[in-house]
Symmetry: C2
Subunit: 141 residues, 2 copies
DNA sequence: GTATCTGCAAAATCTTTGCACGATA
DNA sequence: TATCGTGCAAAGATTTTGCAGATAC
């Protein structure tokens, strides 16, 4: 399932697929960053200049409610989106550059389940962002 | 320092203290939840009906930039604030009720440092929210 | 063919800001 | 008293929505 495309998952869920939705789906599927809606709109406009910002908003909301996309918030007041079926990962934000690094750590995942259980809850999701600064100088020119 | 009031910390930082800022400081200091700005404005208005929403916004931003308050985002599009000097903790959100439970787990804190270090970073902060559902029925009527 | 989607523009929501007046140190 | 803060209303930024025409199934 991790190798199914967003479009395939939309069809599997019975969503009506329009040209605009396919474009948004492909744009997000091709992204390896965390675009906000304005950025998705820009990338979608490159494919179809007639697409509207409202449609992009409606589409990401639809996909999110269908569990196809995940909405992220990095604290700058704009929602960002990524493919929910990509392997789960968390984010480390380099506060000196704004760069976002993805990581996964099974120990943290397990620990979170344990903490929720201790509080009488069953974990269904989480948001984890580490804010950090580089230890060594980045390998910049 | 954890037992100093917000007002004391403002004075220590040389912030000019007005009646309005004192009111906002006391309202947040007295809160044991995570009020958004509109809610802070309501609570402050109960003390001084002439205070303006703009002043509350300016004050929480000022306090946040001074490191006195922490800005939280729970994904509903509104910023929330809490006293940054309260003992550090993370949040578990009961998605069935929206209730927010605070917790602290040293293992998770240590693990986060380790992960950042492994990626070549020094951790300076983090955001962690667990989304969960109750295991047993809540003790409701 | 009918229900749903799109584009546009207006509106809703949250937050910031210019300006004249008022308060702080 | 000089500087900085406040209140108000207007403006900004992001997101949502009403409506008429267009499209998917």
């Amino acid at each position: 399932m991790a190798d199914s495309t967003i479009i395939q998952r939309c069809e599997a869920k019975g969503l009506r697929m329009t040209d605009q939705r396919r474009i948004v789906a492909r744009v997000i599927g091709a992204a390896d960053d965390h675009p906000d809606v304005e950025e998705l709109y820009a990338r979608a406009s490159a494919v179809d200049p007639k697409i509207s910002l409202a449609t992009v908003y409606r589409t990401v909301k639809l996909f999110e409610e269908a569990g196809i996309l995940e909405r992220l918030e990095f604290g700058d007041g704009r929602a960002r989106y990524e493919d929910a079926e990509r392997d789960h990962h968390d984010h480390l934000i380099d506060v000196t550059t704004g760069q976002v690094i993805e990581f996964i750590d099974q120990e943290i995942e397990d620990l979170q389940e344990k903490i929720a259980a201790r509080l009488g809850y069953k974990l269904i999701g989480h948001r984890l962002e580490l804010l950090a600064v580089p230890v060594a100088k980045p390998s910049k020119t």
